[in-house]
Symmetry: D4
Subunit: 225 residues, 8 copies
């Protein structure tokens, strides 16, 4: 078997969708991750490509193979190549400390896909004044990503405060009847806040791709960069 024949990269995705393919690290060996990231980079040297869901061994393998790669250990991801200039901005809001890795993956995905990203952490619903305190930040974003576990109520509160397009990411944080993210997933799907859309449990990547697409389309250059 020739090297890398275990995967057929979809180099054409950039042409079809405007977004490059990603290396999804789950279930791949560190060596495979490093090699595939290199192949993606070779195909698209002019813009950033990245790999997600990396454990420490995979991150180390990427660092070893690609000294120019930028490692994001909290987000469990690595980027190779120059980030695109951001168009539009995405605000990522989290319900608790433990939602950090998913929020980090979302924010990094947004940046790789061409928009600006900012994270405001630990805005739990049990202290609703904290949510109310970020109304201006919500209103100023082109797209909002809400990351929350347990009952996921943050999506409903945020969704009721703003008309900015909002994506909810349930996380697997919690125990017992949280059923590894199911409670948050069902809660976000049945949210009483109109227009809330949802991605898979812990899928910061998916939320980031959608949010970046929305933000990029506003055509507003982000003033912060």
């Amino acid at each position: 078997m020739e090297p890398g024949s275990y995967a057929h990269l979809d180099h054409d995705r950039l042409g079809r969708t405007g977004d490059p393919e990603v290396v999804f690290g789950l279930g791949k060996t560190p060596a495979q991750v490093a090699e595939l990231l290199g192949r993606l980079h070779a195909a698209h040297p002019e813009r950033a490509v990245f790999a997600t869901r990396l454990d420490d061994a995979a991150l180390d393998a990427v660092a070893g193979a690609h000294p120019a790669a930028e490692l994001h250990r909290t987000a469990r991801a690595a980027v190779l190549g120059p980030l695109p200039a951001p168009h539009g901005s995405v605000l990522v809001v989290t319900g608790g400390t433990a939602d950090g890795p998913v929020a980090g993956e979302a924010a990094l995905t947004v940046r790789v896909h061409g928009a600006h990203a900012r994270v405001i952490a630990d805005v739990g619903v049990a202290g609703v004044h904290r949510v109310l305190g970020i109304r201006d930040e919500l209103a100023g974003a082109d797209c909002v990503i809400v990351v929350a576990g347990m009952e996921g109520a943050l999506a409903s509160v945020v969704g009721g405060l703003t008309g900015v397009p909002t994506v909810a990411v349930p996380t697997s944080i919690g125990y017992g009847a949280a059923f590894e993210g199911l409670a948050a997933l069902l809660g976000m799907l049945t949210s009483c806040a109109p227009g809330t859309v949802v991605v898979n449990i812990d899928n910061g990547y998916g939320a980031g791709v959608h949010a970046a697409r929305v933000a990029r389309r506003t055509g507003r250059d982000d003033p912060r960069t």
Copy 2:
């Protein structure tokens, strides 16, 4: 079979627990409901007894058999005998219009079990200012009951605003991934607001019994009655 032999009423419950037995109407014929309510009343003429989960036919049968009965059609319940003087007060808060019958059952149960009850309806989380507007009412109650369907996020927001003992009632309002109350049930069980306790889906009666027990124990006579 002698009349009424299909049910062995637990007349001793009042002695054991301080609360009278209730006629649970689900699965009983209108005639059975009316007769059982009469038997409960005969055993405890000095204080109110009641029947819950009554359809229109059962309510009519009760009205026909017991002209003195007080009918609560929205709450689908009927009361017979004098209500006890209320001790302590319970506030019932609902997320939406459709939660009304469950909230009504809860409030009536509270009153029958010896506490004062007040209902504030339609305080949805998607308009969080409505919740903030009732902070004084929450603080003034001896026990709070939160009734909400869909994602049930109201329990988390209320639970974060007050230290009053709070009981959450998920309702079967919603569709699709609400799974007939399951989303709200899981959401309330995993609420990030500490101390939230939960009863079965649509179980206004159970929430009312617990809340009345809590409120009665405060020993404060309700100033409103």
Copy 3:
């Protein structure tokens, strides 16, 4: 009880989110639906308000109370007041004939929320050439809504063909292991197409709100109107 006291309309939602409140017909009487729609219209006479999830009786009640209302029987909805000028355009694609009502609700919601909507029906995955045949339409939209039941695979195929922001709506069409939309819901949540976001089963309204928000933000006036 004064008329309409069973519901506290959130007239302020327009100010907070840019979108008017909707009358959600499920669990409301025809008279309630008609009255609430009238109250919404009185509060916002300058722009369309609407009611969803209406059965025939509710549609008739609306028609009787509001001769100016526009009825959409397939979409089970009614609109009152002038539709806003559309900004941006949304394409609604369905997998099968039976997905029509949900697609209709989505399209109408888009129009009420200020964007243009077009429906292309019956583009099932089992005949993938039909999906390939609408690539230009997909590319030309500002947001795409994919409505599909059974296994919901249409979302993955469409999501792989275009980089336009895409919202997937699982429907309850199917039997057996479709589990009233659960198979489609899980399939869309785990779609291999990056950036697919999902709403509740049969929730055309929610998809429409999100899609309209995205489309409006593009600032492109729709050439077709």
Copy 4:
């Protein structure tokens, strides 16, 4: 990143609810737990704060950082600062030996939140005489917490014996069809004993917060302290 910026403690919770924030140890590093507990203690030196769900490493980290901390290894928790004087008393009853850690967490939570707590262990329903033997203890409590796994039937038996407000905690003890606490959770939610309220699986903390709030409100100083 400045130290501790990964978490925004809700110091105001004490003012809103009368209860201090807790450090929830799950998913936090030992160092984070120790530091956050120290910050809570610094904000509220006059009354006990605590941390729950600690593994041995976290308990050791707390012990190292805070020699004054009181460690509860069975309850997997640690307390820092003087316990408040107890008002009212809570009885914690368990179905089996393996429910001990959850019962310990509940009892400790009760004490930190200002009420007296007593645990009676191993009162399984399969030997119902053991339950009947503690009727006096049940009657003398201001609130009862029932901790049980497997089928959770203890909640129904206790709930039928007393009118004291009762909170049921399902535990994940069991195997097979216990589904990690689901059987006990469903059983407690559908208990035939009126007024039973339930918290999440293994959530001794939540039951303790609610029970302490109820017990404190009785205003009876506990004679045992």
Copy 5:
């Protein structure tokens, strides 16, 4: 198609297992039920055969076709032919009034399968004294059947009181988290009382067959007949 060709009766079952085949009425037309019962009776005129799960139309059809048939409307069953002399006795205990039809089916099945059956109804766990009051009856039986819905805790309490072989039948009585018998089923499967065996939800027939087999094997002629 010749009459009755839609079903191949297993006339040999009596030889293999000692028990006659039953007509399971669910999904059969009244005419089919009546005809099949007649065919069974013709094949085994010397001993009773019967049909279960009959609605009113099926019961009427049986009465019309077989005037000698004994109808049991509560148990939704019909018997044709002489009952066998009973060997051994089975006690059927129910948790509530609504469990009556399932208990009736179980008791009738026991009798048709050759043992004596007695029903004690409405022995709910929430009044545990009622269970304790029947200890002698439990001890005197050759097999016990416990029929209960909601949380099904009665099986655990009875199972802890007696060493008589005990079969638990969960019923679909309840609402919400009872999930049409699932809560009772899981509770009975995970009962802490050793030796509890379980049948399908509402399956009084299956419990009756097993119990009769156990009771018949004791070889004790029932003194009551």
Copy 6:
């Protein structure tokens, strides 16, 4: 805490039910298991007591503390004290090799509870001739235990061949849609063979207690001992 105060043994169970209490090893330390087994033995020196669900460490601890104990490593159990003389006989049949430990636990439980036990392994349904080959053994037993994982079809085939009381034990053997025993559990509960009763997944102990109670009652001394 005095030694052993973590568990209140139910020494009276023998008097109530005729069966001694068992040490359920799951969740107990090896030292606890050894001590509790010793206490049970001290209370009932005249007859065997035993401990189940033991891992290697617990088995070693028992061996160290009680040299007279009989260890059953496949069944993961240990017995202390003289086995009672067997009355009646139980046949344990398994579907596959991997069901061995559960079958072993069942057989050992039967012997400790006073009946004879024999195991016939690996009688899978996919080779139905193997089942037919043991018809005589089935007919000669006083009670049959069927242990099977995956789809659990063995219970239906055995149940159709014999009228001997039969207990089905689903095991967690399998993968994917076996859902750790759920497929076998549901299959056995809905078996088309009349009179099949079921215990919890992997619960060889429960099946053994029931089967021994049934077999003992036949009063036939087992000729093989």
Copy 7:
């Protein structure tokens, strides 16, 4: 809207797959069914087309619109146009009487798709001799379809008797833990008989399409026609 614009028939399917499109009647009006069947027939007059999942009204509408149509009321289907000459033969085996409609749909689908079909009904596993009695018929088929509800064990027994390709169809027959076909579905998916493949609950059509494709490929002209 022009007539029939609610559905885009996939006339090209015959070219791609060798099989004509079918009219799936669920969720379509009788008039739509009749019209669509006519359009299919017009496009393929030389070979049979058909419609499935028809209620009585749809069957009547088809009969009225297409006097040449062949109605199959048990199978709830209708055929229009000449059946193709059969190549190869399929044997359909059912577990019980109530599986008849699904078996009928499967058999009719086989014939419409170009193979011979024969049904042997009521071969339940609880009487395994009935299965053994059809070994020759199994061996003589080119493909076998097993239709069974409840626990679905028939698939395992048949699958162990023959090496002929076998398709299992779980049906929704049963109650309680059958969960509308889920028990049979899981049982068939985890069958210990190698090579068993499964279709959706009650999906006789899907099984028929697959079986016909397999049978046709054998190239053996069926001697019975």
Copy 8:
């Protein structure tokens, strides 16, 4: 216990079904796997037998005991004895890299069972052009196996492109709402492509047995061998 008495091999299966028994490695020790494979080989020296679901230790044990064995580490399987000459050909298509082991098990099973197998990997639906690019290969096969995780949409797309008998294998690849293969399983069961049949999650073996049986029956000698 004599060596190997823990398993009764079904040597007769070859006679009944034309296929040899397999050693299913899950839950067996390496030594057991090696010995059982040897016994199978001794019984059928003239044709290949094999073992599946082997971890590295089991593969090493097989290699040590049977130097002639052919090891397939990706497919986690080992073959002993000469492969039969292939009749007919099976095409195995996978959705992603991580589906490789299941696809390998399927392909190897096909070859051991007497047909030719070819694998085309990584034909994900999100790049539908990759599926369209293998239409000729699909058309040329005698049976197709589709292996896919996540939402499993590949089965629907392939099923719509070809009339070759197609077996779908859901894999446990994915996270969150993939629920370890459940999403793919439900999606494949409800596929809109007619005639799709499904096996258990990750069951490459079962798909291979069925596909080989179908391919062998075509009677076409494969030109490639």
